[in-house]
Structures are given as structure tokens and as C-alpha cells.
């Protein structure tokens, strides 16, 4: 268990040393070496922890409340909370956003008060590891480490292109490591107050990274992210207070143990779900994630797609046994399902690559949220699978878009026209990532399929409708992006590859991870996810995807892999005539220009459809936010009301 501790301290140390190494060479060396060591430690820990997990309870307890370490940690956490509060206050005063101080105070003060007056309850384990924690450790460590390595090359190019931005890459990279350490803390905590501390760190780090460029837009967006996350933090605080005073409980596992039949539990569950909504950018709190796209791409990949926003759904997955058929469960499934559909509609009208990715992230998080809210083992299985597949594929997508932006100067999807000719390797990596997001037989689709079955079995018609319509719109915006990449331009040349080698390694590694995940998901499910579900729910999920279907999907994977070979065989030694595409007139030398009626040569421009009139932000954003807000408000009031009155569930 000391390994976990070493991993945590080591990541913190890297963060500090990166901050103080102002020389580029030295810093990049520390980042690369540190990330590799971190990933190795992470894997060692996971292997060890997997072996050490108690067979009876299904988890591993570290730091019982009696341990002398706990006192020291508590002091550190109190100091940390005060520091975070002061930091937020100072920055809010500088930028004149005083409401953030109020929100931060409302979130932090009650917890500090509990600590100082000694009323904080420590009854369960402080840290707890089960197979879900181990999976999250793998995601955070591996994806996080890779993104940190990628950030070396990226930040160099970024400052090369953005000369108007103050150069502080040490701060940026140091924050990435600090964030990773906080994530490790968050996923291993079982004590709710501890979890809350790490939760607040991730909010603050995200706020600092969004404001990295210090431009007006960045500052505005960072404060939007901050107040929404702080508001969620207040929800967390209410849950802590309620737990402390009503149940004399401060541990998550004890809370889960109360079971969904226990009526009073709806209040803490609803409050935690509210906190999760803000962190996972569910509607109506989705706008901060769009704004977060102004930050340099590694932070979008790490915080705003792969890990930080996953903290919210992670919490929901943890408490999902408490949501079976309860009002908070209805709130979570409705808001999640609605967000999945509405965000995927909104993604259609976007042409900025990062915005599409942001909306798609919101949408997929909605799907995970909806799965967690069902509160059945099969649905939670789907939620965890979605979380895994999404973390890997989406971070890869972000890294690709970032690399394309540095290489071509644009991240607009329209400018990726013909990427297969201009940057063939990039087009391949992107194709794998996009297919991983929505197409059979790749990852996300498998999970979506399991989700669909779970929704049907729980008789939730509304969710089924959201899911089928949402997958149709999802297919549309990914499909047209894929179509852009695939356009073959004649007489076009490959661009010079100016992407750093280290960036390529990282992207290839992630591509490998996507493919490995697709091939090994049944194994992952039975080794990691099912034991954890059995512990949390107390009964087995039953067969989720039959072995016949898995075999068929493997067959499809192999067929897709063989496609190029087969096509080569077909094309080889065939006397066919190569020609230009039909331009509905005379082609002027290539298939991008044609001769018009006056004999002049005109360029043609092929655009994707964005359907502004139907799905534009102006048309439906406010409406969807209002609908989601109504869902949240009404169901929160109902949940709290039932919790107090103990009436209908």
C-alpha cells in the first residue's frame, strides 16, 4: 500500500519541481521522465492492488480512522482547504467576481467548522480500493501520463504560434501533475470530506488552466467554470452536513450500505448527484465545458474529457445502488438522458473541432449519468464501460485536433478536408478514434448497446427514446467529420510533418489502447467490473453481451482490419481508368477548379451541412438549458421534500 502513497507524493513532487524549472530542456526532461516513472508506478500499484483485494469484501481498506496518519492528513487537508479558499478569494477580488467568494465560502466554511469543532465523523475507512478504483487508477495514470508527455511538444508549438500569450508552460505542466495527484486522491478516498477536498482541488486547477492565456475571454470562461463547480461543491457540503448530523456517518461505503429502500437517504444522494451534474457538465451546467475549450489542448484532453469531468460520473457510479427506483434516480436518468440527446443535437451545428468534441463529451457524459441513475448492475456495467472507452478515445481525439491545429493553423473541421492525403498518419489515428466513439463493432457502441438493453429492462421508455434519437444525431456529426477526412484530393501533396516525435508516440500509444480495449472488453468486464458490481449491489448482473455476439463483433473487427488487404488484391493488376471527379462542367486541370460559363476558372468548395436553422445554438441552446434546469429544480425539490417528509419515494 505504500506504493499508492509513493505514487501520490511522487506526482506532487514532480508538480513542484516542474514549477520551479524555468529552463525548457530541464523541464521537458523532468516531465517525460516523471510521467514514465509515474505510469510504471501506477501499473505496479494496480497489479499489486488487484492481487491484494480482499476476496470476501471485494475491496481493500487503507487507513482506518484509528490510524495515527489520519490526524496528520486531516491537518494537511484543513490547511489545503484554507489555502484554496484564500486563493479563490484573492483571484476573485482581482477580477471583480465577488460572487465566487460567497460560493467558495458556502462550500468550505461548514466543512472547516466541522473539522475545527471536532464534529467531523470518521467511522469508515478513509481510503478504500476496489476494482473500479483500480480501473480509474489505470485511466488516470496511463492516459494522464501520456498527455503530460504530449504537452511538452504541444506547449512549445503553442507558444510559437501564440506569441501574444504570456509564456508560462512550467505553470501549465505543473498544474497537470497537481491535478493528477488530486485525481488519485479523489478516486481512492472513501471518507466524504476527504473526497470533497480533492474535488475542490480539481475545480480550482481546472479554473486556473482555463484562465491560462489571461485573455479576457479566458478569464470570463474560467470564472464561469469556477462558479458552476463551486455551486456543485455546495451540494457536496450539504450532503456532508446531512450525513454527519443525521446519520453520524462520514463514509461513502456506509452510506451505500444503507440501501435504496431507506427513505431518508434521498437527500444526501440528491445533493451528491447535484454536485456530480456540475462537475460532469450536465445540462443546465454544460456551458462551462464549452468555455473551457479556450485552454491549451492538453488540459482539454486531460481535464475536460478524460479525467476531471469523469469525477462526477465516478461519484454517480459509486452511489448508483442508492438510486434504484428512487426520485434522485429519476432525476439523474432524466437529466442524463436529456443531456445526451440535446448536446448531440447541438454538436451538429458546430464546425470548430474542439467545440464538437466538447459537445460530444457533454453528450457522452449524459449517457454515463443516465446509466448510473438506473441503479441496476447491467446499467452500471455499461456506465463503467462507457467511461473507459470514452476516456481513451476522446482524449486521443483532442490530442489529434491539437496536433492538426499546430501543424495547419486551424482546428476547424472544414479545414480538415482531405486530411487523408495531406496527413495520412493523422487521418488514420483520427479515424480509429472517431470509429471508437460511435461505430460498430468498436468500443462505445458496445457500451451503448448494453445501456439500451438495461434501459429497456428497467421499463424506462423516455430513456430509450432519448438514446435512440441521440445515437442517430451522434452518428450524423461524427459521420460527416469522418467524410471530411476521407475526401481524396487529386494532385495534392502530403504536408511536411512538423508534429513532434513525442506527440506521435503518445498518439500511437493511445490508438493502441483504443484497439486493445475494443478487443479485450469482455475480459475487462468479467475481471474488473463484475466483481465490483457484485459487491455494490449484492446480486449478479447476468449476462450482458452474449459470447456469440462478442464473437461476431471480433469477426467484424478482423474483417475491417482485412479490408485494405482485400482492396489491394482487387485493385492490383486491374486495367481500370483513373479519372477526375465529375465537376458538372469542364474540370480545370484538377478536381477543385472548374471552367464556368464565361470560360473563367473558378474554385469549388465542398462544405459539410451544419443545419444552423434547425439545430443552431441560437435555436435550441437556451431551450434545452431551460428544460434541463426545470428537471433539476423540480426533482431536487421533490427529492428533498420526500426525504424530509418520508412520503412517497
Amino acid at each position: 500500500m505504500t506504493i499508492a502513497f509513493i505514487l501520490f507524493i511522487f506526482t506532487l513532487l514532480i508538480s513542484v519541481s516542474v514549477y520551479f524549472s524555468r529552463d525548457d530542456r530541464v523541464r521537458e526532461g523532468i516531465v517525460t521522465a516523471g510521467s514514465i516513472v509515474m505510469m510504471v508506478l501506477d501499473v505496479i500499484f494496480c497489479v499489486w492492488a488487484f492481487g491484494a483485494v480482499n476476496d470476501n469484501t471485494g475491496y481493500l481498506v487503507y487507513l482506518e480512522p484509528e490510524s495515527s496518519f489520519v490526524g496528520i492528513f486531516n491537518h494537511v487537508i484543513i490547511a489545503g482547504e484554507i489555502f484554496l479558499f484564500l486563493l479563490i478569494s484573492v483571484l476573485s477580488i482581482i477580477h471583480g467576481k465577488l460572487y465566487c467568494i460567497i460560493l467558495a465560502f458556502m462550500g468550505t466554511a461548514p466543512v472547516l467548522w466541522l473539522d475545527f469543532t471536532g464534529q467531523a465523523v470518521e467511522n469508515g475507512p478513509m481510503l478504500r480500493f476496489d476494482s473500479l478504483t483500480i480501473l480509474m487508477f489505470l485511466v488516470v495514470g496511463l492516459v494522464g501520463g501520456l498527455i503530460c508527455i504530449y504537452s511538452n511538444g504541444y506547449m512549445k508549438d503553442y507558444h510559437h504560434h501564440h506569441t501574444d500569450v504570456g509564456k508560462r508552460p512550467w505553470f501549465f505542466q505543473s498544474m497537470l501533475f497537481l491535478f493528477l495527484a488530486a485525481m488519485y486522491g479523489l478516486i481512492s478516498s472513501d471518507n466524504i470530506s476527504w473526497m470533497f477536498f480533492f474535488w475542490e482541488i480539481t475545480s480550482t486547477v481546472s479554473f486556473l488552466l482555463i484562465g491560462y492565456t489571461r485573455k479576457e475571454e479566458a478569464v470570463t470562461n474560467s470564472f464561469r467554470a469556477l462558479w458552476m463547480n463551486l455551486l456543485g461543491g455546495c451540494g457536496f457540503t450539504v450532503a456532508i452536513l446531512y450525513n454527519t448530523f443525521v446519520y453520524k456517518n462520514g463514509s461513502l461505503i456506509e452510506l451505500i450500505g444503507m440501501g435504496s429502500d431507506f427513505k431518508g437517504v434521498v437527500i444526501p444522494v440528491a445533493c451528491l448527484a447535484f454536485a456530480a451534474f456540475t462537475k460532469s457538465a450536465q445540462m443546465p451546467f454544460s456551458r462551462w465545458l464549452l468555455g473551457a475549450m479556450v485552454a491549451p489542448t492538453p488540459s482539454s484532453a486531460l481535464l475536460h474529457s478524460a479525467t476531471m469531468v469523469k469525477a462526477g460520473v465516478y461519484l454517480l457510479i459509486r452511489i448508483s445502488p442508492l438510486m434504484t427506483g428512487t426520485l434522485p434516480g429519476i432525476m439523474v436518468t432524466t437529466v442524463g438522458g436529456f443531456t445526451f440527446f440535446a448536446a448531440s443535437l447541438l454538436a451538429i451545428s458546430q464546425s470548430d473541432g474542439k467545440k464538437v468534441l466538447a459537445y460530444s463529451t457533454i453528450s457522452n457524459l449524459g449517457l454515463i449519468t443516465a446509466c448510473a441513475g438506473v441503479g441496476k448492475p447491467a446499467a452500471t456495467w455499461a456506465a463503467i464501460m462507457l467511461l473507459l472507452f470514452h476516456a481513451v478515445s476522446k482524449s486521443l481525439m483532442f490530442l489529434c485536433v491539437g496536433a492538426v491545429e499546430n501543424a495547419t493553423g486551424s482546428r476547424d473541421i472544414e479545414d480538415m478536408h482531405g486530411l487523408i492525403v495531406k496527413m495520412p498518419k493523422m487521418a488514420f489515428v483520427m479515424t480509429v478514434a472517431i470509429c471508437g466513439m460511435f461505430l460498430a463493432p468498436f468500443g462505445m457502441l458496445v457500451a451503448k448497446w448494453a445501456a439500451l438493453k438495461a434501459y429497456i429492462d428497467s421499463n424506462n421508455v423516455l430513456l430509450v427514446i432519448f438514446l435512440v434519437f441521440g445515437s442517430a444525431t451522434t452518428m450524423f456529426y461524427w459521420g460527416k467529420w469522418l467524410g471530411k477526412l476521407f475526401a481524396v484530393l487529386h494532385q495534392s501533396e502530403t504536408l511536411r510533418d512538423i508534429i513532434h516525435k513525442s506527440e506521435w508516440y503518445v498518439m500511437y500509444m493511445l490508438t493502441g489502447l483504443v484497439i486493445t480495449l475494443c478487443a479485450t472488453f469482455p475480459f475487462l468486464g468479467s475481471i474488473f467490473i463484475e466483481p465490483m458490481l457484485w459487491v455494490e449491489f449484492g446480486y449478479k448482473a447476468g449476462q450482458i453481451i452474449s459470447s456469440d455476439d462478442v464473437r461476431v463483433m471480433l469477426m467484424m473487427l478482423i474483417m475491417i482490419a482485412l479490408m485494405p488487404v482485400l482492396a489491394m488484391f482487387l485493385i492490383y493488376n486491374r486495367k481500370e481508368k483513373m479519372t477526375m471527379s465529375y465537376m458538372s462542367g469542364a474540370n480545370a486541370g484538377d478536381d477543385r477548379h472548374f471552367t464556368d460559363a464565361f470560360g473563367g476558372i473558378r474554385p469549388s468548395y465542398l462544405s459539410n451541412w451544419y443545419m444552423e436553422k434547425m439545430f443552431g445554438e441560437k435555436k435550441i441552446l437556451v431551450l434545452s438549458l431551460a428544460v434541463a434546469a426545470a428537471f433539476v429544480v423540480v426533482l431536487m425539490i421533490l427529492s428533498v421534500g420526500t426525504g424530509i417528509g418520508g412520503g412517497f419515494r
Binding site: V461, V488, V552, M578, Y582
Partner: protein, 295 residues
């Protein structure tokens, strides 16, 4: 082992008989359409002659990627059909079909010409319009038969149509889009009156086009088999009933094709989503209420 042999026989039967059925449907379409338009029209076997002629032609291609993608479309269409007739999971069958469709649209995108590109965007919209209904069709079978497996669906005491008439009507509606019939033939059409030259398939020619047409024939047969599936229960005679209904539905499709002018894509999207929500959605609500009431 016996089961395995039986399955292989069925798949082989599908591979051989599906084109026969497909050519029958195509010929039937051509003859009825010409009668509706008061003209002589081509002979019944014209689609066969057309395809043979296509395969004899030299391929004129704009790029090799397109050829590979068209091949992907046909292979995956046939594969999905095999999966269906082998009694596989119907949801997976639909997923495999959308993968095949994706290959086709990407082939058109790769051609990089105005009409192909427009055709591919329109095909994406068409896919978006019919996708919810196809998934709901699969779910409809699951709700009344308790299984996604085709082998279980055909062994019920009552046919699926009894419990899912709304789903059936919704499916028939999106069948117009899937079979590329007017008023919803945006991306490409079988008729000469297509507004975008040939849209989706415009830069595909010769034997590559032949491969594509073959894939579409397999797809057509599969789509009509779903109609049959609604009417099948344990009784072997039900297959006759199913096929009769399928032929009737196909006839109605031809009439619709000849009667209605093409509408705008907005109209297609809104109407097909509306039909999906109102017919299939209400059907599901009722089924779920019954299910909950029974418990």
C-alpha cells in the same frame, strides 16, 4: 453439430436466393411502375441484364479508396444479412447495417466532387432520419418476444404484429427512405429524374457500381424480410402470410414512389421523427404500461 450444418445451409441459401428474390422485387418494381405510368417498360428481367452489363464494363474510378469503401459496403451488407438469417441478435444486425451504410457514404465523400459530396451529406441526413426507427423496431421485437435473437423471435405463440402495430407502421414509413423511393429519395435515386445527376453514386462506375448494386439488392431483401418477420409465429404457414404482406407493402411503396413528388429534407427529417415518436413511441408506452401492470 447438426445445428451448425443447418446454420451453414441457411446462410448458403441466403447467399444464393437473396439475389433471386432481389431481382424479382426489382423487376416487379420496374413493371408495376411502367404500368402506373402507362408505358410498356422494360422486360421483367431487365435488372439482371443491367447488372450483368455493369460487371462487363471497365471500371472508371476517381480513386482507389472509393473502390475499397464500396467493397466494404457490399461485404458488410451481405455479412449483416447472413447474421440475420443465422438467427443472430437483431440489434447487432442493425448495427452492422449502419456500419455498411457508413462505408457507402464515406465512399461518396472520398470522391470529392460536388454531387457526390451533396449526396453523401443528404445520405447522412437520411440515416439520421431512419436510425431511431430501425433501433426501435429491434426493441419492439424484444419487447414482445423477450429476446433479441431472430431464432427466438420466429418461435413465438403469436406474431409480433399483434403487439407492435405502431412499430410496424413506423417501420413501413422509414422503408420509403431506405428503399430510396420518392418522396424521400434525396441522396440518390433509381429513377432518371434525380435532381443531382446521380448523387451518392455519381462517381462510381462500371463493375464497381455493379458491386454496389449487388449490395443494395441484398439490403433490399433484408429490409423486406423484416416486414415478413412481423407476421411470423410458430405456424409454418405464417411464412406465406408474411411474404404476402411484404409483397403488398412493396406494392404500396411503388405506388407511393409514383404518386408523391420529392419533398425537402427538413420535411423528411421532421416527418420521420414525428412518425417514429407518435407511432412507435406510443406503442412502447402502451407495452410498458401493460408490462408494469402485469407485474
Amino acid at each position: 453439430m447438426n445445428n451448425m450444418v443447418f446454420m451453414i445451409l441457411i446462410i448458403a441459401g441466403y447467399l444464393i436466393l437473396a439475389p433471386v428474390a432481389g431481382f424479382f422485387l426489382e423487376g416487379y418494381d420496374r413493371v408495376i411502375s411502367s404500368r402506373l405510368q402507362r408505358r410498356m417498360g422494360p422486360p421483367f428481367l431487365q435488372p439482371v441484364y443491367d447488372l450483368i452489363k455493369l460487371f462487363e464494363k471497365q471500371a472508371i474510378v476517381v480513386n482507389n479508396l472509393e473502390t475499397a469503401l464500396v467493397l466494404g459496403f457490399t461485404i458488410f451488407t451481405i455479412f449483416s444479412g447472413c447474421l440475420f438469417f443465422a438467427g443472430g441478435d437483431i440489434l447487432l444486425v442493425f448495427f452492422a447495417f449502419s456500419l455498411a451504410d457508413m462505408f457507402l457514404v464515406l465512399a461518396a465523400s472520398s470522391a470529392n466532387s460536388p454531387y457526390s459530396s451533396l449526396g453523401s451529406q443528404r445520405e447522412f441526413v437520411q440515416m439520421m432520419a431512419y436510425e431511431p426507427m430501425t433501433l426501435l423496431t429491434a426493441i419492439g421485437f424484444y419487447m414482445c418476444c423477450g429476446s433479441f435473437n431472430v431464432s427466438d423471435i420466429i418461435n413465438q405463440d403469436v406474431p409480433a404484429i399483434v403487439r407492435t402495430p405502431g412499430v410496424f407502421l413506423g417501420y413501413c414509413f422509414i422503408l420509403i427512405i431506405k428503399l430510396r423511393k420518392s418522396p424521400f429519395d434525396f441522396s440518390t435515386s433509381h429513377h432518371a429524374h434525380q435532381e443531382m445527376v446521380k448523387g451518392l453514386t455519381q462517381d462510381i462506375a462500371g463493375n464497381v457500381l455493379g458491386i454496389l448494386e449487388l449490395g443494395e439488392i441484398y439490403e433490399e431483401v433484408f429490409l423486406m424480410t423484416i416486414v415478413v418477420l412481423f407476421f411470423i409465429w410458430k405456424n409454418p404457414l405464417s411464412y406465406v402470410l408474411g411474404i404476402a404482406v411484404a409483397l403488398l407493402v412493396f406494392f404500396i411503396m411503388i405506388v407511393v414512389d409514383n404518386v408523391f413528388p420529392r419533398v425537402k429534407w427538413e420535411h423528411m427529417l421532421v416527418s420521420s421523427w414525428g412518425v417514429t415518436l407518435s407511432l412507435a413511441g406510443s406503442n412502447f408506452l402502451i407495452l410498458t404500461m401493460l408490462k408494469i401492470a402485469r407485474i
